[in-house]
């Protein structure tokens, strides 16, 4: 049906609330006892994570099996099977949640479904082996609220992910969806909306941290026959996937926020620039746009006002530099995604030369809730200069890989140890890389720094889009810096010299170091050249690309020096500096390494200790992986 008034929207909300009341009520009061049809429960829901990570582990087959079995037992009318967006706890995926008792099953396989249906849904007994085990005390935890991973989180941008069916607009409406839009269009002037956003203190979540309200105001003040709203969904930072999760789990929040933005700055048209590598997010967004059109929430005369707005999708084609807004705009125009000098800012001259406001996905996801709950509420969360929450993609050598959202001002220690569950395999924490290829590595001494835009910058890193890669003692910091440089060299568009040539020289120096061919002088050059690139590159990519090198040089100088001076890599990552050898006392001559050595570098007779010829050894480590007697070591 077409929504033409606030009343229409409220009616749909009322109707749809029934869908969600079960989920929301059970979220408040979880039950120790499982519910089951046998004990008189009349209506249950099965929520299955349909995010990319869980889908890769066959979560769609889990949903299929549920539907099949519920039909077989003739109980499908009592149980809804709902595919939601990402729950965030990717380490333990695929996740299945049973409502109303709020049981959180982890690492479910399609074969487990039979047991869940017969044991839990029908008989009312939890399947204990699929419950999360608290690593601290070995106890089963069945409600996600009581897991450390969720306890310290505060989900604002991710508020609907894992709760609603992203392909059903009514579930979004039931959670106050499109209320902010209705209120803005019907009761507020554009400048009033902008003032609310300014008051909330929201800063851009894409990396720069520019105040969002101010950005909107610039675009609002421009006089033009047409303006554009652009959503930057070209999430290029490898290892960050929050934007994808929001689009997969709560696409309507983006549609609503872009429409609010369009109203505020006076733009009739929105464009989402999204990575072609995100097929599921594209599909969900398309469905959301189509539904919003059907309900009259996009299109002509929204809510019966004079305001019309529509959204189109544009595809990226895999270029990191397109996260930079001027490059993104050129790419949307069908050109090479090369950045241009600012000013003019996109707010003055952007897409097709018209005033354009570009915001990132996570920024947009915050808008509707700021407007419904009020800017004071939002501004009460976070630190003095960074308000609200931030989503981080926690990955690397950490126990709980996943997507988390915490209030600004949370410390790295809380994120890594409390939420992340500490370092994998009991290893020692070494560094955490924030801000992706543009950020830096932070160390032990930064663990108690409250995370916000300004503190991270002061510590030599940056917020970036929110990637957070944890590294342990086995990671070589020189190799990590080289890895990021390798990325920027490949992704540099080549337009300005400092970035195109400077970064290449930096990479060559890093290669020299990892090969043990560098001198102390090279370390000096590395630092000076890095600073020159920072000062002289044209766009954000080049200006930040030396950060991984400079921050590791600052924090791990001794490790660089060891590579140069002693030709040693303490993390045993730099191949050229390693020597594999066989301990004759442990080798029993089983011949297994001999068989698997791809370079024929191992010699020895059966039942006699073997040896490795260092001239032939290609240091692939295959022998060490195969040896059952721990006789092979590397130094």
């Amino acid at each position: 049906m077409k929504i033409v008034s606030l009343n229409d929207l409220q009616q749909i909300k009322k109707k749809a609330e029934a869908l969600l009341s079960l989920r929301e009520a059970s979220d408040k009061e979880a039950q120790e006892q499982a519910c089951g049809l046998a004990s008189g429960t009349t209506h249950m829901q099965v929520l299955i994570c349909g995010g990319t990570g869980c889908k890769a582990s066959s979560s769609h087959l889990i949903a299929e099996n549920f539907n099949k079995l519920l039909q077989k037992y003739e109980i499908s009318d009592k149980i809804d099977v709902i595919t939601t967006g990402c729950f965030g706890f990717c380490e333990k995926g695929p996740i299945v949640k049973i409502i109303p008792d709020n049981t959180f099953y982890t690492q479910v396989t399609p074969d487990d479904v039979e047991e869940i249906v017969s044991k839990h849904i029908i008989s009312g007994n939890k399947v204990e082996r699929l419950l999360y085990v608290d690593p601290k005390n070995g106890q089963h935890v069945s409600d996600s609220k009581h897991m450390d991973f969720y306890r310290k989180q505060m989900r604002i941008a991710l508020r609907n992910c894992g709760t609603i069916d992203p392909e059903n607009i009514e579930e979004y409406i039931a959670r106050d969806g499109y209320m902010a839009l209705a209120d803005c269009l019907l009761h507020k002037k554009p400048m009033e909306v902008i003032d609310l956003i300014k008051k909330s203190g929201l800063r851009g979540r894409g990396g720069g941290g520019f105040p969002t309200g101010l950005k909107w105001e610039f675009a609002h003040k421009q006089e033009s026959d047409i303006k554009y709203v652009v959503c930057n969904a070209d999430e290029g930072d490898p290892g960050a996937f929050m934007d994808r999760s929001i689009m997969e789990g709560d696409p309507h929040s983006i549609v609503e926020a872009m429409t609010v933005c369009g109203y505020s700055i006076g733009a009739p048209k929105g464009l989402v620039y999204i990575r072609a590598e995100y097929p599921l997010a594209i599909q969900r967004l398309r469905i959301a746009i189509k539904q919003a059109r059907e309900y009259g929430l996009l299109g002509e005369r929204i809510f019966g006002t004079d305001f019309s707005f529509d959204i189109e999708i544009r595809y990226g084609a895999g270029a990191f530099v397109c996260g930079e807004e001027t490059a993104l705009i050129h790419s949307m125009e069908g050109k090479r995604g090369e950045p241009t000098l600012k000013p003019p800012f996109p707010a003055e001259s952007g897409y097709l030369g018209k005033p354009t406001n570009v915001n990132n996905v996570e920024t947009f996801a915050n808008i509707p809730i700021i407007l419904t709950k009020g800017p004071e509420w939002f501004a009460s969360i976070g630190t003095e200069k960074s308000k609200g929450t931030k989503v981080f993609a926690l990955a690397g050598k950490i126990n709980n890989v996943g997507l988390i959202e915490v209030p600004m001002g949370t410390t790295l220690r809380e994120v890594i140890y409390d939420i992340g569950g500490g370092i994998k395999n009991g290893k020692k924490f070494k560094a955490v890389q924030t801000g992706g290829p543009s950020g830096g590595c932070l160390t032990e001494k930064h663990l108690d720094t409250p995370i916000d835009f300004d503190n991270l910058l002061a510590a030599g890193s940056m917020m970036g889009s929110g990637g957070m890669i944890v590294m342990d003692e086995d990671d070589c910091m020189v190799s990590v810096a080289r890895f990021y440089l390798d990325f920027t060299v490949e992704e540099s568009c080549g337009k300005c010299t400092p970035c195109r040539i400077g970064n290449k020289r930096l990479l060559e120096l890093l290669n020299k170091i990892t090969e043990g061919k560098a001198t102390e002088k090279d370390l000096e050059t590395l630092s000076t050249l890095g600073k020159v690139i920072k000062d002289t590159a044209l766009c954000g990519l080049g200006q930040t690309s030396p950060n991984p090198v400079l921050s590791t040089l600052d924090n791990f100088y001794e490790e660089y020096a060891e590579h140069v001076r002693d030709h040693k890599c303490r993390a045993k990552q730099c191949k050229a500096l390693l020597t594999y050898s066989i301990n004759p006392d442990l080798c029993i001559g089983c011949h297994l390494c001999f068989k698997h050595c791809p370079a024929n570098a191992i010699a020895g007779d059966i039942r006699k200790p073997h040896s490795i010829n260092p001239d032939l050894c290609i240091k692939c480590g295959m022998c060490m992986a195969r040896c059952k007697f721990k006789a092979i070591s590397v130094c």
């Binding site: 582990s57 990717c90 290029g236 490898p238 996937f241 595809y315 084609a317 890989v401 990325f487």
Partner: protein, 157 residues
């Protein structure tokens, strides 16, 4: 001319251009659809597009070579993509890649002579919980060790 495209492909490319109003601003969308036809964008196809949009073929070539998503070489029957995102990197994807290269005898960006496998790197599929990750076709393989590579390749024998 380097390639000779089948007539029906040329017609399909032209239809795609028409659908987008032969608008040069739609070039990237057109290239996405065109690449879908054969899995890559041969030179001749780029010429067809340039003619339809009335822009120099150098412009089209410039865009094709700028973006990593577009390719001018045919992919293998089973395209292998090793994730080189940071999360996968710190969990050992470089060693996985080495093993793929060694077993297939090709470098990144190449296709095996029998056209069966092609090898590429990609940046983050967003399944970081399963790191390191490799995609073969549409299928995602997670938590891999170099030792698993041979077994996986054997699946496609």
């Amino acid at each position: 001319m380097a390639d000779n495209l089948p007539c029906n492909i040329i017609e399909q490319v032209q239809t795609i251009c028409d659908k987008h109003g032969n608008n040069p601003g739609e070039l990237i969308n057109i290239l996405h659809e065109a690449q879908h036809l054969m899995g890559y964008l041969p030179e001749e196809m780029q010429r067809v597009i340039a003619r339809k949009l009335n822009i120099p073929v150098s412009k089209v070539y410039g865009v094709v070579t700028f973006y990593t998503f577009f390719t001018m070489t045919p992919k293998g029957k089973y395209p292998i993509s090793v994730c080189m995102g940071t999360a996968c990197y710190v969990r050992g994807s470089e060693k996985l890649l080495e093993e793929f290269k060694r077993l297939l005898g090709i470098e990144v960006g190449e296709t095996t002579p029998d056209g069966k496998f092609s090898l590429d790197c990609l940046r983050c599929v967003g399944a970081c919980g399963l790191a390191p990750v490799v995609m073969i076709g549409e299928k995602v393989y997670g938590r891999l060790q170099p030792i698993d590579v041979k077994k996986i390749l054997d699946e496609f024998e």
